[in-house]
């Protein structure tokens, strides 16, 4: 049986992804800052799906711990999925270097740190899969998502570079770009119903994309075209717009 590692396992999207892979009989490794919190998820996955499930401590910001964390996993997972990320209010983050740095370090530096390690392992074994859950916000820099968007843009560039670097080694690297998602973080927002997915839909689409070895997937598919239009607006025009 194959094993999936989920980094940032406490979010609604992560829990949905875990359930999807467990329902397909993957063993699960959950990782989050506070593993004690993961106990109910662990028992739930084991009982519902009859697969193995373990919980580990992982802090995206503690870069120096990442190598030991990954190398001591038993077994080394066949699939590594990063779901962790921080999205602070942009105005607050802009006013505070501490918040800005935390956002960049979590969304970009932390992800690069752990995925470098995973990718090297997979390269040695000539197999393995990496799924990075990023965001449509990384497709073009906008005032309303200044720091978050740029951290995700960097992450997108990293994932596409990684895909290129290890293509010949047979490592599958998939970039996931969700648009609006109904989660605990967004329940106070008035999201447009037609454009918004549920965490379960995100998980379905991720699993389908993973099975078909896709490179870049949008959730849902039409976000690809929405973002295409947004990317096509000339910069002299774009800079005047409020998006």
């Amino acid at each position: 049986m194959e094993t999936v590692l989920i980094l940032g396992a406490t979010s609604d999207i992560a829990i949905a992804i875990v359930k999807k892979f467990a329902s397909k009989k993957y063993n699960i490794q959950l990782a989050a800052r506070n593993p004690a919190q993961l106990e109910p998820i662990k028992s739930d996955i084991k009982i519902r799906y009859g697969v193995e499930c373990d919980a580990f401590a992982f802090d995206a910001l503690q870069f120096s711990t990442h190598a030991l964390f990954f190398e001591t996993l038993k077994p080394i997972p066949n699939v590594t999925i990063t779901v962790f990320g921080v999205m602070d209010e942009e105005d607050k983050a802009f006013d505070s270097w501490q918040l800005t740095q935390r956002m960049i370090d979590t969304n970009y530096t932390g992800a690069v740190s752990i995925l470098n390690i995973a990718a090297k392992h997979y390269n040695e074994q000539k197999k393995g899969a990496i799924i990075g859950v990023s965001s449509v916000a990384g497709d073009r820099g906008r005032a309303s998502k200044l720091i978050y968007g740029s951290s995700k843009a960097a992450f997108n560039a990293y994932l596409s570079g990684l895909r290129n670097k290890y293509f010949k080694s047979g490592i599958h690297v998939m970039t996931v770009k969700p648009g609006f998602v109904y989660t605990r973080m967004t329940e106070d927002l008035n999201l447009p119903k037609l454009l918004t997915s549920t965490p379960d839909e995100v998980a379905e689409i991720i699993y389908a994309g993973f099975s078909k070895k896709k490179n870049i997937i949008y959730v849902k598919w039409f976000w690809r075209y929405i973002m295409l239009i947004i990317k096509m607006i000339p910069e002299f025009q774009f800079k005047k717009m409020k998006l």
Partner: protein, 445 residues
């Protein structure tokens, strides 16, 4: 962000904030926020019991914590639905000890309503099968209660409509089954007298419930179908079924696509429906083996069936009368037939004995009916209330959207005790619902 929410009857609908939680500390943070609230599960109570300007949704708090397959002990968080529980326990040879007529309720909601099923006369309500539970109080303190530990909190929480605190963790005892099938018997009764005789004659059946055509008058007044069932044993099964006796039923659901305009349901269309439903059973008696789904959850096959009653919604009226009040049953049914206010579902069941502070079931006949919300309905229901009181009956709070506080006082002799326990654990009335305010359980006025 406020959005419009309503429970299953679509009446009443209110503007509310809804916040959810996945982890214990998130629930504590929501409770500590200060404003008053009520916990809400899957919104399958019918009226306003889980409505409040601020609701805390338990739906994401749905993890299974342990399952002892040897002894049938199941421990979970309160937001899991019975539907999800069944998919885990049935293949392992266990069943819910008590289930209401829908599997789309949460365990927490089921305990807060102290739900009953077709086996009440044998197994009692769900509260009989709870080993222990955690309740998070308005002060955010967590108390583990059981029949021996904080029994006052335990008793008042079962059937207490969420007013003592938020039920968070639940441990229940399951029922052993050999197969996922039910050995069913359906018997037709030409009138109410005959039906009551049949209930008596078949009282040893674990599951029993009757569907009544309440628009029929004269000699066929109260014509009905009595549905009885037992969990089938492996020996009851034949052929292929024997190879996989604990198989889960296939999902065959259809969705009721839109709100039906209110004129569609009238005296004539409901009469026609009831006629078809009654005559589809040609024989006096039918015996067969069916999956547990159609037996326990016939209406769950149609998602959003509540849309049948239109945008204005409906009120479900469920009361219980003591066993010696057969006359009262007749009087109320006659009154409903006269009014012709149209009810698809009139469900009759016999309750066994039950002692509790605030739970609905007590020994007697319980009848549940749906009434589409129309002009004059509320006045009519007030009239029915008077009849229910005349025969010493009471109403079910989980179905209720409109009763007056006097009706609750008259029906529940232990109400003062219940109120005192609420005061003890929820002293400032921080946990409150539209219903609890209406029934003066949490408001001082």
């Amino acid at each position: 962000m406020k959005k419009q929410i309503a429970n299953w009857g679509n009446y009443p609908a209110i503007e509310a904030d809804e916040a959810s939680f996945v982890f214990d500390d998130q629930l504590n943070n929501l409770i500590r926020k200060g404003e008053s609230f009520i916990a809400r599960g899957n919104g399958r109570c019918y009226g306003d019991a889980s409505l409040s300007e601020r609701t805390i949704s338990t739906l994401k708090y749905d993890k299974i914590l342990s399952f002892d397959k040897e002894n049938g002990i199941f421990e979970c968080q309160s937001g899991i639905t019975l539907d999800q529980v069944l998919t885990v326990i049935v293949p392992a040879g266990w069943f819910l000890p008590v289930t209401p007529g829908t599997k789309f309720i949460t365990i927490g909601g089921g305990l807060a309503s102290d739900v009953h099923g077709k086996n009440h006369h044998v197994d009692g309500s769900i509260s009989n099968h709870v080993i222990e539970m955690d309740v998070v109080l308005a002060s955010d303190e967590v108390i583990t209660c059981s029949p021996d530990n904080c029994p006052d909190l335990f008793e008042a929480t079962l059937g207490g409509m969420g007013l003592t605190g938020v039920i968070s963790r639940v441990k229940i005892r399951l029922k052993k089954i050999e197969t996922s099938m039910i050995r069913q018997k359906q018997v037709k009764a030409a009138n109410l007298q005959e039906l009551i005789g049949l209930f008596e004659a078949y009282k040893d059946y674990t599951y029993s419930v009757a569907w009544i055509d309440c628009l029929k008058k004269g000699t066929h007044f109260g014509r009905s179908i009595l549905m009885l069932g037992e969990h089938a044993t492996v020996d009851d099964l034949a052929g292929v079924q024997k190879n996989d006796p604990l198989k889960l039923p296939k999902n065959k659901q259809i969705t009721f696509p839109f709100n039906l305009p209110s004129w569609v349901l009238n005296k004539f269309s409901v009469k026609a429906f009831n006629f078809l439903y009654y005559t589809k059973n040609f024989k006096k008696e039918i015996n067969n083996i069916v999956s547990y789904e159609p037996f326990f959850y016939p209406l769950d096959a149609i998602l959003h069936w509540n849309r049948m009653y239109g945008k204005a919604g409906f009120v479900q009226y469920q009361f219980v009368l003591p066993l010696d009040a057969g006359q009262g049953l007749i009087e109320i049914l006659e009154r409903i037939a006269d009014e012709g206010l149209g009810s698809f579902l009139a469900v009759l069941k016999v309750f066994g004995k039950q002692e509790s502070i605030i739970s609905f079931p007590k020994e007697g006949y319980t009848l549940a009916l749906d009434f589409p919300v129309r002009k004059g309905l509320l006045t009519f229901l007030d009239e029915l209330d008077r009849l229910v009181l005349k025969y010493h009956g009471r109403l079910y709070m989980s179905k209720d959207a409109r009763m007056k506080p006097e009706m609750l006082v008259a029906g529940y002799p232990e109400l003062e005790k219940f109120k005192a326990i609420i005061k003890k654990y929820n002293p400032e009335g921080k946990i409150r619902s539209v219903q609890s305010d209406r029934l003066l359980l949490t408001s001082c006025s």
